[in-house]
Symmetry: C2
Subunit: 279 residues, 2 copies
Amino acid sequence: MIVGFIGFGEVSSTISNILSRNGIQTVTVVKGRSEKTNIRAIKSDVQIIDSYDALVKGSDVVISANSPANALNIAKKVSKLMDDGIYIDLNNVSPDTTLKMSQLFEKPQETLPKIEEKHSFFKKQEDVDMRNMFVDGAIIGKVSNDPTTILFSGQRSGDLAILNNYGLNIMIVSNKPGDVSTLKTLRSLYTKGVSAVLMEAYEASKEIGMVDQLFEILSLTEGETFEEKSKSRIRNSYKNSKRKVEEMDEALEFLDKISPKGKKNFMTKAARDKFNDVK
Amino acid sequence: MIVGFIGFGEVSSTISNILSRNGIQTVTVVKGRSEKTNIRAIKSDVQIIDSYDALVKGSDVVISANSPANALNIAKKVSKLMDDGIYIDLNNVSPDTTLKMSQLFEKPQETLPKIEEKHSFFKKQEDVDMRNMFVDGAIIGKVSNDPTTILFSGQRSGDLAILNNYGLNIMIVSNKPGDVSTLKTLRSLYTKGVSAVLMEAYEASKEIGMVDQLFEILSLTEGETFEEKSKSRIRNSYKNSKRKVEEMDEALEFLDKISPKGKKNFMTKAARDKFNDVK
């Protein structure tokens, strides 16, 4: 199996290193990218090539890990080049954008090359009318966690379970593209809501000089790792508040779509306003 | 040492049972209380007496564990009867009400009986002009946890460290009455905020049939006990939403007092509205 990476930031390089340590060939293109990315690629075992066309056509799995803003454009370009294999989007995009990308990779069975003409690592799916090469993925927790846990959903996500043999912890959520993106959004309602709650409790305790005492008594019930974990959440929230506002705006859009009419999503709205207040 | 309980609900009976198992005599009055309370007292080792006067005058420590609404009235009555020992308020009251209660128990040193006249379990504090018998306490986590952890603050809270020898886990926060109540309020900003965030994430996941998946992926990063703990928080929030609205109103009042002018406490306000929305 050959895995090609479009984008070679922290996510790509971590996954690439795990895979190549476990005997899988990985490739990427870093031409025109930042010096930092170039150095990261040189220091990895990844094969550096010149052409995105070659990367897409030569890989069994193509992984896109860039920025949410670029995700759709990259998917458009790749979908025109790709006629086999699996395309994984690992960018932190909304369920809506994920579905748009997925449609790009959905092709009637007959338009795809016959199994004799091309030898892919994965078997051709004969039992579907429409074939969809798109899989949406999400890393849960830090990419550097050992093992790195990745969720997948999409028609061919089951084929990716094989990566469990190559150092990753793969969880197949469903064969419906977009489910992982939806789950990730649901998860962020909790994680970012908690961050915003922590910020407010922290600010109040600071105001009256009781930060240490607050963390001490919370640790009694929330566990030993609570203080470290929470302080890291708080630091991260102040640092990345601008991005978090955007993510909460997307989450609110999602909630508006799925909520019964008239339902107010107080906590998510407040978390958005909280992040916006410090940005 | 003799410990007297005013109110014999779950909190009092649990503490009373721990203390009497460890050799401390406990007393209470259940006359006029509910049948349930009477039965609870009969089944305990607590000594049941008829008179609150006798309870207050015969105990070295008086513990009030009733409802927040009754706390101040009980403190008023007891403060008129008490001239020695320690009065502990374990009701879930605001920092403001706690300070009001504390003032009732503050008396100039000279008005208190001389050490020869009364033999208290605790030594008389000779080095203070004003003596304050009031201690505010808070149980952290469930009262049934083993060991039960209780925080104390107040001039005489240090004397209560002796209860560590009798089956309780005592933490002395400071000698300033009200500090425990303040800490408890700060803590509730976090715990109730998280409950409200959980409710919203849960409701959204229910809307699209992804409750199980949401808890599964959250457990990956939040720990094994997350699902059970969170579901219990959610159930409890729907069940006690009315009380939680009142508690959040008190917390907001507190935040208004300590916050810089113009600061908006988005998350606490939203949690209040969230609980109010289901009540």
